[in-house]
Structure formats: C-alpha cells, structure tokens
Symmetry: C2
Subunit: 182 residues, 2 copies
C-alpha cells in the first residue's frame, strides 16, 4: 500500500449514498483529502420478451434534470441477494416477472470516486403481473417502453441511449442471445 490513511469521517449519510472523507499521506509525506461516495450497490435486468422486445423504463433523473431511458434497476437492500433485487426491481418498475435470470456481468460504475457495484442480468420468460407495476412515489414519472431488440441495440450504439448500464447490458444480452457465450 502506497499511502497511510490518517482519518476517515462519514461526512453525510444519505438516502442513496453516504459521503466519506478521508485524509491520507503519501510516502513523500504529502497529505491529500479523498472523498468517496459509499453506495450499497445495485442490480439491473435486460428483460427480453418471448417475441424479442426489450422492456425499458423512461424516467426523470434528478442529477441530470431530464428524462432518460434505462433498463429496470435499483439499489440493493442490506444483505439482499443481487438476483432477487434485480427480480424485485423488474417487477416494481415494469409489472413483469422473469422466469429465468442469467448473469451478464458485475461492474463498478465509477471506481475513481464511488464503490457502487452493479449486477447485470438477462431476464427471460417474462410474465405480466395482474396487479401491474408498484412504483415508489419518486417513480411516478416512469413510463414503460417495449422496443424490438434490434432497435434497442441501434439506439444503444447510435447515442440515443446514454445510460452506461443500459448500453452495456444490451450489448451483453445480444451476445448471449445470438448463441455466443460471454
């Protein structure tokens, strides 16, 4: 380890992430402050229907101040299995259950400042819930989009979709569905 941690402070405890501030010392003796966004991690699903459509959600994202289109996703509850979290968020946001979830990847979204780890799945065997979606108050702006897979891939590659997990999830799902292994 090429530095010493001199202090560690939980500066803010938030709804989605906590802010940690650390003071460190390099071997040269120089000191520096590092801030870290501590995130519980998340899970997301690329849900593909039997007739080859992807279910996406369009919602207002506060940090961006605009609507964007994403695959269904959400934070892990403490101790929650990532696959169950993915299934829960899929059901809440789209109103669909997946009979089969296959792991696509586990990724760090922005490891330079944040410990968020995101678990990506392909969801197949989709079945609509009679009761529909159960969205939280902050998700009332959310709408469901059903897009043919080829069109969704085009949108991912052409810049129409800009969310990293959505673009990566669609590329990985295409590889798996076209018979390639990951």
């Amino acid at each position: 380890m090429e530095f010493k941690r001199l202090s560690h402070e939980v500066f803010y405890t938030g709804r989605v992430f906590d802010l940690i501030v650390e003071r460190i010392e390099y071997p040269s003796g120089a000191q520096a402050v590092r801030e870290i966004a501590r995130h519980p991690g998340g899970a997301a699903t690329v849900p593909v229907t039997d007739d080859g459509h992807v279910l996406l959600v369009r919602q207002m994202r506060f940090p961006l101040g605009r609507y964007i289109t994403e695959i269904p996703a959400g934070k892990l509850s403490p101790g929650e299995d990532p696959a169950l979290a993915a299934a829960r968020e899929l059901a809440e946001e789209t109103g669909y259950d997946a009979r089969r979830l296959e792991k696509l990847a586990t990724i760090y979204t922005s490891p330079g400042f944040c410990d968020e780890q995101l678990h990506l799945y392909l969801g197949r065997g989709l079945v609509e819930r009679p009761e529909g979606p159960r969205r939280e108050e902050g998700e009332q702006s959310m709408t469901l989009e059903s897009v043919p897979l080829a069109e969704a891939l085009h949108n991912a590659l052409s810049g129409t979709y800009q969310d990293a997990k959505t673009i990566l999830g669609l590329l990985l799902a295409e590889r798996l569905l076209s018979g390639g292994s990951l």
Copy 2:
C-alpha cells in the same frame, strides 16, 4: 415536471465531486431529500497499438480498497474539450500519444445519483513519448499493461475486468475495429 425543488444546498465541495442536497415536494405534498454527486465529467480512451495490443493501467482505487485494471481515463478540466482531455490522460498515464481518436460513446455512469458524463474514444496510431508517463502523486501505484485485444475482450467478458467503462469501451472498440459501424 412532477416535483417542486424547495431548496438546493452545496453540502460539500470536493476534489473529485461536490455533494448537493436538495429538498423536493411531490404533487401529493410529500417532501423528500435527494443527494446528488456533482461531477465535472470525464474522458477515457481504448488505446490500440498497430500490432493489436490494448494499453491498460492497473491502479489502487481508494473507494474499492484494491487494485483494478482500467482503460486510461480522467476528469475534464473546466471548459476542456473531451477529446483533448482523453488525449491528455492517455499521455499522462501511459506515456503514449494517439494520432487518431474516434468517438465510441458518451455515457452517464450512474444517473440515479450522479451527473457524471463520460466520453469514450478509440485511440489508434500510438506513438511512445520519449519522456514516458507523467503521473500525479496519487497515481504512483499505477502500472501499464499491454494486452492482446482478443485477450482483453475475453477478460472483459469473463469478469476479470470489472470496470464498466473498460468493458464497454473494449466491446465498442471491437465492433469498430472488426469493420462494423457503431
């Protein structure tokens, strides 16, 4: 817009990101607090040598407490052109200049809580700088890895690489290099 912003506070001003705390009100009258990590954005390059190797950097990432392998990347300076930032970070971290940068994608890394936008490029026509890398004090742990493109792709798909921009960048670079358009 389905909410009213009641307050907006810069809670912490950091080296990499600021913490913004907002209080909002939904149409129901319910109030909520939202924290946002405000990030200047970044740029990253998939550098591919004339003989088909990818240049990657391995470094300690404080938020994870461990070393991971990534494509060269860094934050935008205020007002900086993303392509120039990508070229600057490539030179600083690897000691190579790219004669050609081609845009791969512009992505939001984690739009649920952070406004970070990341610009991804493919770098070709790599030329080593006589003076080598110029790494900052916090980057002294960084080492350069030169990996055949097919092996890097395997590492991206098998879970060996876990950084989102690295996996996505390699998949997009492969598409472009194999003659497909994006």
